[in-house]
């Protein structure tokens, strides 16, 4: 009986801690302003960031040369994004507050992807500059 109770409580705590951890990873990028270069490349113009931009940012990230330093966190946020999408889909009709929370989180993921893209572009530019100086 006690083991069953511990098991249920631990699983609930695990989900909550893991979601909050992912949130903290994404939120750490919240203060970073999006550069004009990223807005231009993603074709955003002056409009606000949208949830659907996440996929486009990821495609653009994959066009840039691989950068080992951010590969793990991009994969983690991609998984978190898919999880949020699923939660949002399930709870959209049942609990509107959860749906609005997932929407905020999804926006955070888009912002994270935009910042990651900006960093990759910066890295690529440095790479080309170094190559050019060698040649």
């Amino acid at each position: 009986m006690i083991a069953a109770l511990i098991c249920v409580l631990s699983v609930a705590a695990f989900v909550q801690f893991l979601v909050t951890y992912c949130h903290s990873v994404v939120a750490a990028f919240g203060k970073t302003e999006l550069s004009a270069r990223v807005r231009e490349v993603a074709g955003m113009g002056s409009r606000d960031l949208a949830v659907d931009d996440f996929a486009r940012f990821l495609q653009l990230i994959h066009l840039c040369p691989e950068h080992n330093a951010d590969r793990l966190e991009i994969s983690a946020v991609k998984t978190y994004f898919a999880f949020l999408r699923a939660v949002g889909f399930v709870f959209r009709a049942l609990v509107p507050s959860v749906a609005s929370w997932t929407n905020r989180e999804l926006l955070g993921c888009s912002h994270f992807a935009a910042v990651a893209l900006d960093r990759r572009m910066e890295f690529t530019r440095d790479l080309y500059a170094r190559q050019a100086s060698i040649l």
């Binding site: 098991c7 631990s10 695990f14 949130h23 939120a27 919240g30 203060k31």
Partner: protein, 234 residues
């Protein structure tokens, strides 16, 4: 049952990640600043090396290996309470409760050490799988409760230091996962020889991985926007 190859893979991965954490702390000159975390990781390295030597000498299915593995794991769980106490004092450092927290952490550490040592000693040569599974389940569940209390304090005190927040949350993930797995093993002893047996070792990789990520990628002075970070507060 998973064989020695899988065991060596987990051991090497754990050693690499734990070593990477300590090396990062040394390179960034933050070893002393985060002493409990670094000491814990160093002792994990020692524990893993000891487990490797025992496994090689007596085999990973021997009684000697079983005893040394779980004894060191239980002692590391106790040491983890020291890490939690350190995190509590960091969260409460600017409040009037700081001295009480230190006192409570000291009492908790002594009480847990006493309880664990007494349990291991009383079991003596009769240390059974059922006994260690229950003890690990209880020790880790106390860890989950403590992490909830600490997380509550982080929310209440509007803590914004990203490093501290991520270290606390990673520890919460670790404790809840391990407590859940041991509870499952306790509930269903018949599936003891399945993947569940190796799950604590797999989950053990999470902590050095998450902490190394935090210390490499998040600068010491990085802050979250107040009120932005908490899933539970929405």
């Amino acid at each position: 049952m998973a064989g020695p190859t899988l065991y060596v893979v987990f051991l090497v991965l754990a050693l690499l990640l734990e070593g990477a954490f300590v090396v990062c702390a040394l390179c960034k000159r933050e070893f002393l600043q985060y002493l409990p975390l670094n000491l814990y990781m160093l002792l994990c390295v020692v524990g893993n090396c000891g487990a490797y030597v025992c496994g090689r000498t007596w085999g990973i299915h021997s009684q000697e290996y079983f005893y040394s593995y779980y004894s060191s794991d239980i002692l590391l769980s106790v040491l983890m309470y020291m890490v939690i106490a350190g995190l509590f004092s960091q969260v409460f450092e600017h409040t009037s409760f700081a001295s009480y927290v230190r006192g409570a952490a000291g009492i908790l550490f002594v009480a847990t050490t006493f309880f664990a040592l007494l349990s291991v000693r009383s079991s003596g040569q009769h240390m059974t799988t059922q006994f260690v599974v229950e003890l690990e389940q209880d020790l880790n569940f106390v860890g989950v409760v403590l992490m909830y209390v600490l997380w509550g304090a982080v929310i209440k005190l509007r803590e914004t230091r990203i490093r501290l927040v991520q270290v606390v949350l990673a520890l919460g993930v670790y404790f809840s996962a391990v407590a859940g797995i041991y509870a499952l093993r306790n509930l269903f002893p018949s599936i003891e020889d399945s993947l569940l047996r190796w799950m604590p070792a797999i989950i053990g990789l999470w902590l050095p991985l998450a902490w190394t990520y935090t210390f490499v990628r998040v600068p010491e002075d990085a802050r979250l926007e107040p009120g932005h970070m908490l899933v539970t507060s929405h």
